[in-house]
């Protein structure tokens, strides 16, 4: 069976092919600005990394429409189970760029207390943006569990879990998809097919015809959307979310998009991504695509872009200023939050560490860069 061609909404002329996203002008501009904000964040993070002020970042370029389109289908009472490449989902829902930047710097104000690598965000407010972990795929069954709790309590909230093409090979994909379908959990699986898992192209990941088809193995609907078309992603996600809210169970959405940068700031994609492929996707830029739509609606000009870009830049600059002005987490954060209460052996280890620092001076920090 061949997968159908991806759902797309925004036409070459900018018209939204008979689909009304149901968004006000302000809301549309919020979507747009969020994409620009992601770009500004990305650019700044890259510079910070290159100059050694932070250790690591993850580029989002090319994927912004998927992130924002999907996020726009959720309410604040829904829960997000993001991957590390989902900056736009947090920003869309009003997570402060400064709070994300605190994580990039791993400072005392970071909600993860500087314990995780950069881009491993965790928020509970203004939306539950679940603590990102590095192991691929583990958050899929977790999202199912959280969604199951909604269902058991009779709440109509939904969990959206986002992961990459590589993530579909993980164990969590198999168990998460299977449990969700058997339990009819209110969860939306968003597979961001961006062409590569680090350096491995999708042909090395699966022999199936795309990823949406994998839904059939679990008995749930699977849809493919053009991931560079914000409205298409929004539409598909909305449908999946509504079905889930009404007790119709889970959906797998494959958003076809492309990672326009390296896997991370430590990666050199020119080693493995053919130039022509990049050039091809360059033409499908998701921000420009959405601009065409806004323009056709009469709410976009170059000036609008320039103004919004400036305000995004300012927001990110302020975020960096705030984050950089905040000190490192205190030594005790090594020992806290292992358990709800500090057990005696950790109290002793902590005391010994303080005591040693007093007698022999502090440990010397390294250069702070994640070298890969």
């Amino acid at each position: 069976m061949k997968t159908e061609s991806p759902l797309s909404v925004i036409q070459a002329n900018g018209k939204a092919n008979g689909y009304d996203p149901g968004l006000s002008k302000e809301e549309l501009l919020h979507c747009y600005r969020t994409m620009l904000l992601v770009r500004a964040f990305d650019d700044t993070a890259l510079k910070l990394q290159r100059s050694g002020r932070i250790g690591f970042s993850i580029p989002n370029k090319g994927i912004e429409a998927t992130q924002v389109g999907a996020a726009s289908a959720l309410k604040k009472t829904d829960w997000l189970f993001p991957s590390y490449r989902d900056f736009g989902m947090a920003l869309y829902h009003g997570v402060r760029a400064a709070d994300m930047m605190n994580n990039m710097f791993g400072n005392a104000a970071d909600s993860a207390r500087g314990r995780q690598m950069p881009v491993h965000f965790s928020f509970t407010d203004p939306i539950h943006f679940f603590s990102i972990s590095s192991p691929i795929g583990t958050h899929l069954p977790q999202a199912v569990g959280a969604a199951h709790a909604f269902k058991l309590r009779g709440e109509s909230h939904v969990a959206l879990v986002s992961f990459g093409d590589g993530g579909t090979s993980s164990l969590g994909f198999h168990s998460g998809m299977n449990f969700a379908a058997v339990w009819k959990s209110p969860v939306v699986f968003l597979c961001q097919n961006n062409g590569y898992a680090i350096s491995c192209p999708i042909e090395e990941q699966t022999a199936s015809d795309g990823f949406a088809i994998k839904a059939q193995a679990y008995g749930m609907p699977g849809v493919v959307v053009d991931g560079n078309d914000l409205l298409a992603v929004r539409k598909a996600t909305m449908e999946a979310v509504e079905r889930a809210r009404k007790g119709g169970g889970p959906t797998l959405i494959e958003a076809k998009t492309f990672r326009m940068g390296g896997h991370s700031t430590s990666d050199d994609p020119s080693r493995y991504v053919p130039k022509e492929l990049v050039a091809e996707w360059e033409k499908k830029d998701p921000v420009q695509r959405f601009e065409k739509f806004l323009q056709a609606k009469g709410i976009w000009t170059e000036k609008v872009r320039a103004e919004l870009e400036a305000s995004c830049k300012e927001e990110i600059t302020a975020a960096v200023r705030e984050a950089e002005a905040t000190g490192q987490p205190p030594l005790e954060t090594i020992f806290s939050d292992v358990y709800a209460e500090l057990p005696p052996h950790l109290r002793r280890q902590g005391t010994e560490a303080f005591e040693l620092a007093r007698r022999k001076g502090d440990a010397a920090a390294g250069d702070g860069a994640f070298p890969l």
Binding site: D110, R115, P141, R153, L171, G172, S175, D337, Y339, A340
Partner: protein
């Protein structure tokens, strides 16, 4: 007070918890209508409905992963892994996720949940129905690891585990499931995690043990008494976090120590106990610690009685520390 076996006490604890708190859920492979392969969950689906006690697909990764998701969202999941030997597909979810979630999210997300699983040898289960993997989990900060050895403790510790704010691995010594009965209080009570249980008095030597090795230690202690040695037996019952002070206190009081477990010796839990005592109480010791453990091999079947430490081996160790 009713007289219960250990597995009945587990069942009683589950019912007690589910009656008190409707956010408590029980699930796993075959725990529903069948009541679990050891009948630990018998009657739960009947009493609480299949929304609160239900079977899952055959994926330990899914079971533990879903439990974490439920726990962060207000439920109190009690997941069963059919045999501890089959917990390894969930190792990533336990070690990378449940154990580290509070830490990595600065306490924003936490996983108060229990993973119950029958463990240990003595039922002719061979390589894959007999293992004692406690050391793997005790080397994992963020987890708690509990092992009851009596029906009373099984119920009280399980209730405490279900109410605990952190993820607890609850290892049930399957060899003891039906071999002992005792009076178990009705209704709710807890036994605090992180506390030791003095099983038997003695001033000459102490055997530290847990799970199915507790009755083995007692038997050996009784035999030692005939030889004139007064052997104390201490049940560790919470392995992580361990009551280290308590362990050292016992060691210092008697000066001679045997450490006993079923799991292989190399890098086993006993190494930590032995090291801890040697490092912190050496001035009080009259003899080096002796470990009695399973061998550093997979678990055999026909010859499991040779593999599992028995009173014969423990007594020999007692004689050795006494003769030092």
């Amino acid at each position: 007070m009713p007289t219960l076996t250990l597995v009945q006490a587990v069942n009683d604890a589950l019912k007690t918890a589910m009656r008190r708190d409707k956010s408590v859920l029980v699930f796993g492979e075959d725990v529903g209508p069948k009541g679990g392969v050891f009948l630990a969950t018998e009657g739960l689906t009947t009493e609480f409905g299949k929304e609160r006690c239900f079977d899952t697909p055959l994926s330990e990764d899914g079971i533990v992963g879903a439990a974490i998701g439920m726990a962060i969202n207000g439920l109190r999941p009690v997941a069963e892994i059919q045999f501890q030997d089959f917990i390894f597909p969930a190792f990533d979810q336990i070690v990378s996720e449940a154990a580290k979630l509070r830490y990595r999210s600065g306490g924003q997300y936490t996983a108060p949940m229990v993973i119950r699983t029958p463990y240990g040898g003595g039922i002719r289960g061979g390589l894959y129905h007999s293992q004692s993997g406690e050391a793997y989990f005790c080397h994992t900060p963020g987890l708690k690891v509990v092992v009851p050895s009596t029906p009373h403790d099984a119920k009280g510790l399980l209730l405490a585990s279900i109410e605990d704010p952190d993820p607890v691995l609850f290892l049930e010594p399957k060899a003891l499931y039906r071999s002992i009965k005792e009076e178990v209080p009705e209704g709710h009570y807890t036994v605090d995690l992180g506390t030791l249980r003095g099983v038997r008095e003695g001033k000459d030597c102490v055997v530290f043990c847990y799970g199915a090795m507790v009755p083995v230690a007692v038997k050996a202690a009784e035999q030692a008494a005939e030889l004139g040695h007064e052997v104390r037996v201490v049940d560790l019952r919470t392995l992580l976090p361990l009551d280290e002070e308590g362990v050292l206190e016992h060691a210092k009081q008697v000066g001679r120590v045997v450490v006993l477990h079923e799991a292989p010796r190399f890098c086993g839990f006993g190494a930590e106990i032995s090291a801890m005592i040697a490092e912190n109480a050496i001035e009080y010791m009259d003899a080096p610690v002796v470990r009695v453990t399973g061998f550093d091999t997979p678990f055999p079947n026909t010859l499991e009685h040779h593999y599992l430490p028995d009173a014969r081996r423990v007594l020999d160790a007692i004689e050795r520390v006494m003769a030092y």
